[in-house]
Symmetry: C2
Subunit: 232 residues, 2 copies
């Protein structure tokens, strides 16, 4: 078999150098895609067998997933896949608002002109994609996260980038994949992305931060509503 899902997170350590690392990627993908259900118990021996490795590297993978908050572990008792409740998602979106707001500010200060042009081109692509698929593909294909990712990179702040890309985005992806697809607010999102890009191009740090925060805050309101409806 071995064909695994491998949805990929932008950086593909598909055949990474170490067993633990590959297993980590596999389990991560399985959690995000929902093949490992939320709240389900993780039994080391079972998973080790399932992935065809020994418990050593598997434990390492689990520990990394714990730090990433995809798994919750209690000493001597075992670990479970995290359960995404409304409270946790709110914390995540709030943290994201603070971090990405700052990232947008820094991007407005530091992003090279050619990258700004590329960012604009990316949005053109998105617009075309929205036209073709009636907007559905925008979030499913994660073009949304793609935009945010570029700004995080442009911020030049490694800490912010690593935390957004390595943790927060993963959890948001997980929520998207599982709580059904999100509504077609693609045109709205695109328009806001354009505003943000414009502020960055104008080197207006203050505005870039404000717009980004408003954008994320608005996204949370939508997500929150969906979560609450589903919880009935």
């Amino acid at each position: 078999m071995q064909e695994q899902v491998s949805i990929s997170t932008a950086e593909d350590n598909a055949d990474s150098t170490t067993l633990a690392s590959r297993t980590f990627d596999s389990i991560k993908a399985d959690i995000i895609s929902g093949q490992l259900a939320q709240g389900s118990k993780i039994v080391e021996s079972d998973l080790a067998l399932q992935y065809g490795i020994s418990r050593g590297p598997l434990r390492e993978a689990i520990h990394r997933l714990e730090q990433m908050k995809l798994i919750i572990r209690v000493p001597h008792a075992g670990s479970r896949v995290v359960t995404l409740d409304t409270r946790m998602m709110e914390d995540i979106y709030t943290a994201r608002e603070a971090l990405e707001g700052m990232a947008a500010r820094l991007a407005a200060r530091l992003m090279p002109d050619d990258e700004i042009a590329a960012l604009s081109a990316l949005l053109d692509q998105h617009e075309a994609a929205i036209g073709e698929t009636d907007g559905k593909a925008y979030f499913q294909r994660e073009g949304d996260i793609d935009f945010h990712y570029r700004i995080a990179v442009a911020s030049g702040n490694r800490w912010i980038l690593e935390n957004l890309n390595g943790e927060l985005y993963q959890l948001i992806r997980m929520a998207r994949h599982q709580s059904g697809q999100y509504p077609a607010r693609a045109p709205t999102a695109l328009a806001q992305h354009r505003q943000i890009a414009a502020a960055i191009a104008a080197r207006d740090e203050e505005l870039a931060e404000i717009l980004m925060r408003r954008h994320i805050s608005g996204a949370w309101q939508i997500v929150k509503q969906i979560l609450e409806e589903q919880h009935d």
Copy 2:
């Protein structure tokens, strides 16, 4: 009466339930205090011997320290204690500014009245301490971080709290312990803390965030200056 420092980290896994966890705490302390020098190589077998445990739990401890960015690890090659350069510290302070700014905003919205009173009392304590020791003790004793910690708690946002307390503060502590003690800007810091506390008491979210950001940004300017002087 328990008065010891112990201010921080809240959870004392002094005699934690698992070997790996205790070792993790030990190594962390050794790195922060400088007993394990920056950039020094970490050899698993050596450390295992030194701490009197086998390589298994030690590896787990190292992995956790890696996630905390106190150690840098490259597959098959080994790990070294992180080297705090100016660039990294700037990233950390910038991220902290974003996160704590948000935390202050949330605290202004959510902090219970009695906790606000306690916060004010804490600042009185600090003022007394400054009077006694001429300000030196303020940063050495980490009363500073204590104040910030309380606000992070009051934010009610677990993600922000865990990242500040579990990662950013640790790195800042490390920088303090090693690059010599910081200057006596204690009175300034205290005054700013009072302003922030007042904004929270007044439930002025906007002001609380702005003041906190200015406070941290100012702190960075001082630290940056010291780092650059030392680097000559």
